[in-house]
């Protein structure tokens, strides 16, 4: 009887170890996949941010140039208005 209990306990321990190792591998694979997915998402997001930064810089530069042109035009219009005033 006591021998049966001993064998039973040992068998249980062995099965426990086997099941644990299987679960362990399963979780390893699961977390590796999650990690890969997140890495991919992070890479995509970083690229998108890089593109958006370039886009923003380009638009800002164009706007600054346009604004400079508007300012120059304002100045030129003031000069034209002064000339017209001289005629009046």
């Amino acid at each position: 009887m006591k021998e049966k209990i001993t064998v039973g306990i040992l068998t249980f321990l062995i099965i426990l170890i086997i099941v644990f190792v299987m679960l362990f591998n399963n979780y390893l694979i699961k977390y590796d996949n999650i990690s890969k997915t997140i890495n991919k998402d992070i890479k995509l997001k970083e690229e998108k941010i890089k593109l958006n930064n370039e886009k923003l810089d380009k638009i800002k530069k164009e706007n600054d140039l346009k604004y400079k042109n508007v300012k120059n035009m304002d100045n030129y219009i003031n000069l034209l208005e002064e000339r017209v005033k001289q005629y009046e």
Partner: protein, 300 residues
Amino acid sequence: MNNQKIVKIIISVLSLIVLVYMIVTIRGIYLNKIIPIKEKISYYEKLQIKNKILEKSIKEEKERSKNIDKIYDENELKKEELEKVIYEHESKINGKVIYLTFDDGPSIYTDEILNILDKYNVKATFFVVCSKNLGDYAKKYIEKGHTIALHTCSHKYKEIYSSEEAYFNDLNSVSKIIEDSTGFKSKYVRFPGGSSNTVSKFNKGIMTRLSNELTKNGYKYFDWNIDSNDAGGSNSEQIYSNVIGALENNNRNVSMVLMHDTKVYTKDSLENIIKKAIELGYTFSNINDYTPLVHHRINN
């Protein structure tokens, strides 16, 4: 110690080993997998916030662009109206308007020329080429109310007249410098040598093609009808005589005078030319959208 006790001890030790192994393994998974993944998720969330802020900024800049375009269009209309009023007034006074045009600058004499023009409140037109301080002068011309126009970048006949592509590449180079420093895109052009030049005859018909292409692309090109002859080398008295002589014998409403701000005798004769022209009843103007086109006959 009997066998049962030994077995009990072995089973206990084995159980302990299994337990320790499980704890260590679970801890390992937590530290090496779960925590890094949590950190990556947190980093990803920060990236998402950063991207949203960027997208919002891009949207705001696009709105700003629309507003600036709207103001520009309104200003453009206002400018055209004022230029029309000025043109109509100046051509009505006695019908005699002079357009002083200075080619090949800016140069070491340009500042003095600008001061002389300021002194008599005369607005002129500068057909510029590339130089290291062109950007700075472009701003000055515009601030003082003069017209800045394009004369190509290199002024090298063999290069610019070798093909239409070569000409426009060269023209775009000088245009870009002006646009980068002032935001202003000039559409007034003068061909090196004028549209009647024969230096381009190594490429048959190029001047005809270029004049058509320029007009098709929204540019206006201007030649001249009074030549100061300062390009050929002279002195200030001769320059004065060439210009005033032509003005005195002039029945044209529009006198477009070719000068070069790279010549010291042009700078030296300018004040006297302006004073005499005013005496003769002329008014001065700079090229604008209402300026009548002055074109030579094309020889190539």
